[in-house]
């Protein structure tokens, strides 16, 4: 069963098309990662899904409700947490929880139970009377998540939930998300951290308002890459980079730690050429092998491919 479905979703702001023709489906209990550079249309899409913004074109449903006509019903069935901490810092932990459970009209008998659940989940039992503004970032994050889950929504939207949170807290946070998904909650999360993308069941890459790729992280790495990636280990890697990048057949070369990663259409053909060129230039090649691309490699390659395509189109039109 699909909890989120989008068909040709579009949003324009004046002449600017922020989101164009996005179609995707997210199944119940799935963690769907929505990736893309800043300004690609991630937040605009999520705002349309939450009923904060009306689509200019296309259609969609969330938890079975239409995102155009049933926005109030959607609000009752989703939890939303944004990158900015958006609870009241001048209220205590408990007062924030009470406020949100009042807003969601959680029945009296259930209120205490849900409050206990949130305090426990967020490890905030001892801080229940602390002003929220005095909590460290990661703790606030957990409280935000708790408040978004008070009414046990079947769908959870997270807009860059871990920006500004330290790595340990981030890991804890993702453990929580996995627990929730295990319990049948559908999670729709935007991020631009690649290591976070690895935690997701399925990914969608959005760039300049368009959905560029869709698939599991493994599918992305194995099938979406049109190029092959070679890892080159040599001395004076920084100097070698210019030599490598200038070779015909090398699409792109970047430093990756002390190694160079280079992208090419045909790895087998380029290996001997590369070895010769390095020897002639006086570099010592320690290792040269084909590797599985990282998600970052995949996305950079997809985005650059898109840019080339559009560049070519522009030249053709011009």
């Amino acid at each position: 069963m699909n909890v989120v479905t989008l068909k040709d979703l579009e949003r324009r702001f004046g002449d600017f098309v922020a989101v164009k023709g996005v179609s995707l489906e997210v199944a119940k209990g799935e963690i769907f990662g929505f990736l893309g550079p800043n300004g690609a249309g991630k937040s605009t899409t999520i705002r349309m899904l939450c009923g904060l913004l009306e689509p200019s074109g296309g259609s969609g449903t969330v938890a079975g409700f239409d995102i155009r006509t049933q926005r109030e019903a959607i609000k009752q069935n989703i939890g939303y947490m944004s990158q900015k901490f958006s609870l009241y810092e001048d209220l205590t932990v408990e007062e924030n929880i009470d406020f949100y459970s009042g807003i969601y009209r959680i029945p009296g008998a259930k209120k205490a139970e849900r409050k206990a659940w949130v305090l426990e989940m967020a490890h905030l039992q001892a801080q229940r009377r602390t002003r929220t503004g005095q909590l460290p970032g990661g703790w606030k994050q957990r409280l935000s998540l708790g408040c978004a889950l008070l009414h046990e929504p079947p769908v959870l939207f997270l807009d860059e939930p871990t920006s500004g949170v330290d790595p340990m807290s981030r890991r804890d946070f993702w453990d929580l998300i996995h627990q929730l998904a295990g319990g049948g909650v559908t999670v729709f999360v935007t991020t631009h951290y690649m290591e976070e993308a690895e935690y997701c069941d399925r990914l969608g890459l959005i760039y300049r308002g368009e959905l560029v790729a869709l698939g599991t992280p493994t599918e992305m790495k194995e099938h979406r890459m049109t190029e092959q990636v070679l890892s080159l280990s040599c001395d004076r890697a920084h100097d070698a980079l210019t030599v490598v990048a200038a070779l015909p057949g090398v699409r792109d070369a970047v430093l990756f730690g002390r190694d160079i990663h280079l992208m090419t259409a045909d790895a087998e053909r380029i290996v001997p050429i590369l070895r010769d060129a390095m020897e002639q230039a006086g570099f010592e090649v320690r290792a040269l092998e084909r590797i599985t691309p990282s998600l970052e490699d995949v996305f950079v390659s997809l985005i650059e491919g898109k840019d080339r395509e559009e560049g070519a189109q522009r030249e053709f039109k011009g």
Partner: protein
Amino acid sequence: MLERLKYMLIKEFLQIFRDPRMRAVILMVPIVQVLIFGYAVTTDVRHIRTAIFDLDNSPSSRDLVARFEGSGHFDLIRRLRSDAELREVIQSGEAKAVLRLNRGFGDDLLGGRTAQAQIILDGSDSNTASIILGYSNRIAMAFNSRILVDRFARSSGTRLDTEPVALASRAWFNPNLESRNFFVPGVIAQLVMIISIVLSSMAIVREREIGTMEQIMVTPMGRMEFILGKTLPFALIGYFDVVLISVVAVFWFEIPLLGSLPALFLATGLYLLSTLGVGLLISTTCRTQQQAMMSTFFFIMPAILLSGFIYPIANMPLGIQWVTYLNPLRHFLIIIRGIFLKGQGVQVLWPQMVALALLGIALLSLATGRFRKTSA
């Protein structure tokens, strides 16, 4: 609806009373303002610093000077010796008025000719100057009639005991023409406006600024619940301040409260509709609290100047007079002064109340309509 509103109100009051600045605004500002207007701000002119330049120094000239001194309005601060000194004393602001009597003043009077006396005023403060002029004229007229009566007695041999016309002046509703009685009820009107507009616009814009507004918008909270939750607390605070200032006015400054309290509360409610409407409207146009503060200031300044709080509306150009009908403060000032000083009730003040109700409904519907577009 009511349940969500209840939680919204609990939250608002927790936030308001937890913030020390808010508490100060609600409690201290009204008290300080009413004390300032009760004690310090007064248009009554007393103790006018006056210098005397008496070149004649005759019994008649000394008589006129004595009348100025005895009027209670003028304090003689020094006697001048030269024109240079006269210029200096006005220039420096040491004296607000100089009474100059030329040589021959007494002789002219005795000889039956018109004697010249001159009053020189500091016109840079035109209000005070015109009031001083009024006082001076009154003294000069009394002096004249005194002399005429003497001359008549001397020429006819009979004493004239009665003046031809005696003007008995009575200022109803404020017998001693105390400007305090005029100002302090006005402070109530002005303060309720400032507090309700500033606090309501800031409260909404703050939620937008810190991002909690977006969080609220993805909950099932309705627009009306949110708006009511954001305005009702400030309406209650407005009422609280009306009571607070009224108590200080009546028991401390002994300003008469002749009208009925229910009429005062009814009018306050109608007035709050429009001030909260303005606050809400400002909040829909502003992204930050500073912007809200500036917009509020730009609304309140002209609203106070064009309300009749200090400057009479009748003195304004006709076009501006029409504009003042759109100013809620103007209507509420008439109501509150009418209730306090004249004991008027709804049967007299209904036109102002209807005007406030119409303005309030118009502003609130405009603001609520705009609210949806800006926050969704």
